[in-house]
């Protein structure tokens, strides 16, 4: 961890129990700004639970979750999103009967204003400045993830890889500082994976921090600045890609399970 900078996300002694079972136990994590950080581990290691805890979907049974130094443990997901921490889901969760453009547009909700009074006084066909700006931004984001041509297609009609991209575009609409991507390339072919890797790197270069979990080892090794390995709800190793590749504990944890690619 670089000295002197507040990590964008820090987790201390984080635990989540279900009855007697620890899905996550005494987890500690610090994510530096403008980096790509991966959390890996065998199935059931607690990665998705960790994501759920950090994004407020699940409350922790113990521990702290600090976003830019502010403790948000137990906060509701929408508050955490407004603080700049936005996630995607393992099984993509789009709004199926809204178009791609509308999906991204609704991502601008918490960054714009205008309630029922604004709705009543709007002039159909002549969008307000706020609305026009939101629309422009949404179109740019669709362009960015390569979905400009599909903007008027219903989200449910898109192919899986496009749906994943749309979910990222929607997340970007919230102006996140930290993007949490839950298995973002699952089900993608090698070309799509490469495109995704390029996108993640370019997002990082634009100043967005990325925390992802994946089973796709080559992707993880290729783009991660730092990797945390979990097993049985705990951290068992942490370091650069090189260090992790050679860590005996990591190899033991993965022994018998296949690499995804």
């Amino acid at each position: 961890m670089r000295a002197g900078t507040v990590p964008i996300l820090e987790v201390r002694d984080l635990s989540r129990q279900f009855g007697g079972y620890h899905a996550v136990a005494d987890m500690a994590l610090a994510i530096d700004k403008r980096s790509i950080h991966a959390v890996i581990g065998p199935n059931g290691a607690g990665k998705t639970t960790l994501f759920n805890l950090v994004t407020g979907v699940l409350p922790p049974t113990a521990g702290q979750i600090l976003v830019n130094g502010e403790d948000v443990a137990g906060a509701r997901p929408d508050r955490i999103a407004r603080l700049g921490v936005v996630r995607t889901f393992q099984g993509v969760r789009l709004f199926p009967s809204m178009t791609a453009l509308e999906n991204v547009l609704v991502g601008r909700f918490c960054r714009t204003r205008g309630g029922y009074f604004a709705a009543l006084t709007r002039i159909p066909g002549r969008p307000s400045a706020v609305e026009a700006a939101a629309r422009r931004r949404s179109e740019e984001l669709l362009e960015r993830v390569g979905l400009a041509d599909q903007r008027h297609m219903l989200a449910s009609e898109l192919a899986l890889a496009d749906q994943r991209r749309l979910e990222i575009a929607r997340a970007l609409a919230v102006d996140p500082q930290l993007l949490l991507l839950d298995e973002p390339v699952a089900g993608m072919n090698p070309v799509e994976v490469q495109e995704a890797a390029d996108l993640f790197r370019s997002l990082r270069d634009d100043g967005i921090t990325i925390l992802l979990t994946e089973h796709h080892m080559s992707l993880v090794m290729a783009i991660s600045d730092r990797i945390t390995v979990m097993n049985y709800g705990r951290k068992i190793a942490e370091g650069s890609a090189e260090e992790i590749k050679r860590d005996p504990q990591v190899l033991t944890a993965y022994l018998g399970s296949e690499e995804a690619a």
Partner: protein, 271 residues
């Protein structure tokens, strides 16, 4: 001059459109309420009392009826919107009944004997104006920032939350708005019927409003309005056929058939 019979049908069409839209609003966020009758009652009684006993102007009473119903809607909404789906339906059913029992015992508005002497103010132009306003409101909401958020909440609450939408705020607000519109519908009703009693706003009423929205299609405010039109006119056709006493049977059968054949209603899902 319009035939008085036709005129009264049109007035009821208008009132029922207002009522069905009052349910459509929360439904558009995924909130199914079987208690709109209760909010209708509040609007009817408050406005009726204001015009008949306190002799206040009609439009003021209309506004007050809507506002009070809306406030009650907010109050009821705040604690209950953590509750999902089916359980919210049951809860709103319970609320509707509580309102009915309240007015059944509330002496100042006549308790079980009801309240009469409400001046007639609901003419066709008045109904047309109010109905047009409510339709306009729904149309404006649909194309707006709030409308998108409502749709997102309906489609996937969790996804809506993680992109920064405060579920409680959105749900409570639309629920309160729906309650206010139901109150306005109640006011229109009271000032046409001139006599109201608690029995007119019970579960049967909530079910009728519910059927209108279900029939027309829950994804679209136009559908809800069409459902209201169909459901107002159909019983009149029954009357022509001499079968008006079987109104609720007819509705019930209709409901079952729709659920089997076309659960998304006449208009269907979204657009």
């Amino acid at each position: 001059m319009l035939d008085p019979y036709i005129e009264s049908i049109l007035i009821f069409v208008g009132i029922n459109i207002v009522l069905s839209l009052s349910l459509y609003l929360p439904v558009s966020a995924g909130l199914l309420s079987l208690g709109q009758g209760g909010f209708m009652a509040i609007g009817a009684y408050v406005s009726g009392y204001m015009t008949s006993v306190m002799e206040m102007p009609f439009w003021l009473a209309l506004l007050a009826g809507g506002v009070v119903a809306g406030l009650v809607g907010l109050l009821v909404g705040i604690p209950s919107l953590r509750i999902k789906g089916v359980y919210l339906i049951i809860m709103t059913m319970g609320f509707g009944e509580i309102v009915r029992v309240f007015y059944l015992n509330f002496e100042p508005t006549g308790a079980a004997s009801g309240m009469g002497g409400i001046p007639v103010h609901t003419t066709l132009p008045v109904v047309a104006l109010v109905t047009a306003c409510v339709l306009f409101l729904c149309y404006q909401i649909r194309g707006s920032r709030i409308g998108r958020a409502l749709e997102a909440v309906r489609e996937d609450e969790l996804a809506a939350e993680v992109i920064g939408i405060n579920l409680t705020q959105v749900k409570v607000a639309i629920f309160g708005l729906g309650a206010a519109v139901a109150g306005i519908g109640g006011c229109l009703f009271a000032h046409y019927a001139t006599f109201i009693d608690p029995g007119q706003f019970g579960f049967q009423r909530s079910a009728e409003i519910f059927i209108m929205v279900v029939l027309g299609g829950m994804g679209n405010f136009v559908g809800a309005a069409i459902g209201a039109v169909v459901l107002t006119i159909l019983p009149e056709l029954l009357r022509i056929g001499g079968m008006q006493e079987w109104r609720m049977t007819f509705f019930g059968v209709l409901l079952v058939i729709i659920m089997i054949v076309r659960p998304l209603g006449l208009i269907g899902a979204r657009r």
